[in-house]
């Protein structure tokens, strides 16, 4: 067992600081890919560690801190996306990052898919991101999100169906 994790569970602030410094970039990376907003991702990284700090007594120090942090981060991201709703979903990063370099029709297609994707309900969006973009197994997603593998499969199916419906117009030959 990592003595630092034992110290963290026992309330050692220095151990918490060490874990924060080691994992902050990783946690930020997970969150920013889900919420697509670097500024919000910073705040949500802090919220993630706040929840970790608050719930440290429940952490089993013999298990992986990273896996626990990831579960907390995903829940924080889902809460955030549900709160801000579709109106505040950010498209700026994709527009800044040079979709224009792609052929015009391809760029338009990407933007349409991305717009439809960020408009998905929060739980579907995060589950679909983990399954379709990160290509993680359903069992792993189930453990991360806290639902059964069957529920993950159902969410991915619903997300794909919603995306297909929303993009039906784009998919028609022009």
């Amino acid at each position: 067992m990592d003595p630092r994790l034992r110290a963290f569970v026992d309330g050692d602030e220095a151990a918490f600081e060490a874990l924060f410094r080691e994992y902050q970039r990783e946690v930020y990376g997970w969150i920013v890919r889900l919420v697509r907003d670097p500024s919000a991702a910073e705040e949500l990284t802090i919220e993630t560690f706040w929840r970790i700090h608050r719930g440290r007594a429940r952490f089993d120090a013999s298990r992986s801190f990273g896996a626990w942090a990831r579960r907390v981060a995903i829940n924080v991201a889902i809460d955030h996306l549900a709160r801000v709703g579709r109106d505040k979903a950010r498209l700026a990063p994709i527009e800044e990052a040079g979709v224009a370099a792609a052929p015009e029709r391809d760029g338009e297609a990407r933007r349409s898919i991305l717009r439809a994707f960020v408009n998905l309900p929060a739980t579907l969006r995060v589950t679909a991101h983990l399954a379709l973009v990160e290509e993680r197994p359903y069992q792993e997603i189930a453990e991360l999100v806290g639902v059964s593998p069957a529920a993950v499969k159902s969410r991915v199916f619903r997300a794909t169906r919603l995306l297909r419906q929303e993009l039906a117009e784009w998919r028609q030959p022009r």
């Binding site: 600081e17 970039r25 990376g29 991702a41 802090i46 040079g98 297609a109 990407r110 991305l114 973009v133």
Partner: protein, 70 residues
């Protein structure tokens, strides 16, 4: 378009560009958050609490009056 092709397009669209890495240390903001949520009681708070305890012990009848004015 098959499901596989469709999912590949979604991945390409959503994962088209990398986001910048965290550029600075968030620990100072984390410390501020921890301090905000666990404010230490000030000296004046402690003095007020001590005064109330003393009055409650010395003059129990005044306790109701104090509670009324709080």
């Amino acid at each position: 378009m098959t499901d596989r092709e469709w999912q590949s397009r979604i991945k390409q669209a959503v994962d088209a560009e990398p986001f910048p890495e965290l550029a600075h240390d968030l620990w100072p903001r984390m410390q501020a958050r921890l301090a905000t949520r666990h404010p230490a009681p000030s000296v004046w708070d402690l003095l007020l609490l001590a005064a109330i305890v003393v009055i409650a012990v010395a003059f129990p009848d005044m306790l109701l009056n104090i509670l009324y004015h709080l």
